[in-house]
Amino acid sequence: MAKSYETELPLKACGWAGTDTSGTLSPFNFSRRENGDDDVTLKILFCGVCHSDLHTLKNDWGFTTYPVVPGHEIVGEVTKIGNNVKNFKVGDKVGVGVMVESCQTCENCQQDLENYCPKLVFTYNSPYNGTRTYGGYSDFVVVHQRYVLQFPANLPLDAGAPLLCAGITVYSPMKYYGMTEPGKHLGVAGLGGLGHVAIKFGKAFGLKVTVISTSPNKKSEAIDKLGADSFIVSNDPEQMKAATGTIDYIIDTISADHSVLPLLGLLKLNGKLVTVGLPSKPLELPVFPLVAGRKLIGGSNFGGIKETQEMLDFCGKHNITADIELIKMDQINTAMERLSKADVKYRFVIDVANSFSSL
């Protein structure tokens, strides 16, 4: 008998799913588990559209299983809590990010680094208990309390949703790699969902921030609206030359294939280039600049739960949210096309609650 996504679990759910590598989404009826003793059920209010959603829909990374319901920048309202749940109550505004389960026993989990757990379960497209996880492009989700975040009361829910992935993805490496010393010079390569949040964090940490981008037309917005101190067009050799050896650290958010050599050239001695974008082809790493300038290239993969909460609280304190364009669920395919052309300032957020009929 063919598997029915609608009946494999007890609670009916509806969402939008991609069903093949075209990446086109369409309505999809499926099901979710009952709320267990450690679980929190949230009615999804908003869900950010992360570029990873697009990569996954098109199977760019080669590990998509269809049908896939993307969405890992989820903000919602608690509708049910399990018997063991003490930190959340019905009506709370909460968030769910990139993961919904980890082993909880390995060294990574013990150190609040669940994002590096080898048994990590992603919010969508992961095998889980005989079925798969489905993400936030849907009406509700049931999540173990450990992976649910308190959402700051003073932040707007829609503009805060992208913090659950974009926010933590730049916040975590900025902390880990020491990119927080006031007065130092941060470069942000790429001005999209990740990049624009990195600028805001950089300014909140007291850094001088330079945007490095291929698009000259993003300059005035970067400086006047986002608060960057300066802007370099990366394919302008003179601008790049003038900035040689002036930057302490660079967050590279670019997900297209690109050369890192020019970025390494911008770094001072001991400088750090941290990549958080996921180009599909390997980076070509020239070793000589690393050796001659004791420079470093590192990676980082979103963040643990404790750190994600810390990041949200930091955003609450500094009033940091994403710049968003709110859409309805049935506009998602157009949004994905525009996202593939980087035609968004700077995150689409789906107004989920107003797109689906209620539970």
């Binding site: 990574n108 490496p173 880990y176 390997p282 070509e284 790493l285 050796v291 001659a292 990676g299």
Partner: protein
């Protein structure tokens, strides 16, 4: 008629130089400057042969100036000191490494990181501040600013100290800087040559568990029994590599040939470090997932500052960290270079300058 190298300075000197990109070395008369008020003059007794010397005599990096006297692992005995020299006296056992001067005013120099000074003066084959070309340690004498001279402790023989001045510091510095000098860490060493064997020895002295990662199975016995490595893996053996995935806190990669970093990054634990001290000529591929998935880093390091080089030599003397060397006469140097090209040396040639370099009549 005396040549320009012979006449440009007042003191006669003699060494071996390469004349062209064949890299073949032969006797060469030149001259050294008068001992200035801050200079230390010393007779060279030993000089290590670094693989960089081989690259340079053949102009593989495109910046060689001929005639080229290589040698930046130089050890000897002080013969004269300038009037304002405070750190050394005649008879002291000293060494000079890869640099003989720097600007002394930039941030790097102020931070004891002269090796990263943009105006660094290398020990050989570069233009010095007086416009003359520097000549290295395959020669009978040197004159050097006292701030770039290293004291060699009595506990180290000069021939053992010489290779430490480049190979030693090149691995010691990143082990310290990247926090890979803590006891109990699991460190990997890729490549078992001059740099690699010193990395094994320093890492053991720091209390690490050391695995050598090599393409040559025949190096295993020596690595374990003689160099003191704890284990050895052949990088082509998938099973061996698989078993060690995600188990290394850090890896020092001394290989300068083109090679893949992907399997090495897989060996590194989450949050672990791959440090390049060899510099392959062409860029190497790093899939973003390889460093994002486990928050790993790839970095590089280049020799070390003077203060750290002295610290390294003192550490080596105290802990008995010495290179494995093959002492040769200077007229063997071309054969040694050929053997070095085939990695046929355990693990550093050192030229016995004092006993075998004689000025031709």
């Amino acid at each position: 008629m005396a040549s320009q190298p012979e006449e440009e300075h007042p003191k006669k000197a003699f060494g071996w130089a390469a004349r062209d990109t064949s890299g073949v070395l032969s006797p060469f008369k030149f001259s050294r400057r008068e001992t200035g008020e801050k200079d230390v003059a010393f007779k060279v007794l030993y000089c290590g042969i670094c693989h960089s010397d081989l690259h340079m005599v053949k102009n593989e990096w495109g910046n060689s100036i001929y005639p080229l006297v290589p040698g930046h692992e130089v050890a000897g005995e002080v013969t004269e000191v300038g009037s304002k020299v405070t750190k050394f006296k005649v008879g002291d056992r000293v060494g000079v490494g890869c640099m003989v001067n720097s600007c002394k005013s930039c941030q790097s120099c102020s931070d004891d990181l002269e090796n990263y000074c943009p105006k660094i003066i290398l020990t050989y084959s570069v233009k010095n501040v007086d416009g003359t070309i520097t000549y290295g340690g395959y020669s009978d004498s040197m004159v050097c600013d006292e701030n770039f001279v290293i004291r060699i402790p009595d506990a180290l023989s000069l021939e053992a100290a010489a290779p430490l001045l480049c190979a030693g510091i090149t691995v010691y510095s990143p082990l310290k800087y990247f926090g890979l000098d803590k006891p109990g860490l699991h460190l990997g060493v890729v490549g078992l040559g001059g740099l690699g064997h010193m990395a094994v020895k320093f890492a053991k002295a720091f209390g690490a568990n050391v695995t050598v990662i090599s393409t040559s199975p025949n190096k295993k016995k020596e690595a374990l029994e003689h160099l003191g490595a704890d284990s050895f893996v052949v990088s082509r053996e998938q099973d061996q590599m698989q078993a060690l995935m995600g188990t290394f806190d850090g890896i020092i990669d001394s290989v300068s040939a083109q090679h893949s970093l992907v399997p090495l990054l897989a060996l590194v634990k989450n949050h672990g470090k791959l440090v390049m001290v060899g510099a392959p000529e062409k860029p190497l591929e790093v899939p973003a997932f390889s460093i994002i998935g486990g928050r790993k880093t790839v970095s590089g390091s280049m020799i070390g500052g003077i203060k750290e080089t002295q610290e390294m030599i003192d550490f080596a003397a105290k802990h008995g960290v010495k290179p494995d060397i093959e002492i040769i006469a200077v007229d063997y140097v071309n054969t040694a270079m050929e053997r070095l090209l085939k990695a046929d040396v355990k693990y550093r040639f050192v030229i016995d300058i004092g006993n075998t370099l004689k000025a031709s009549s």
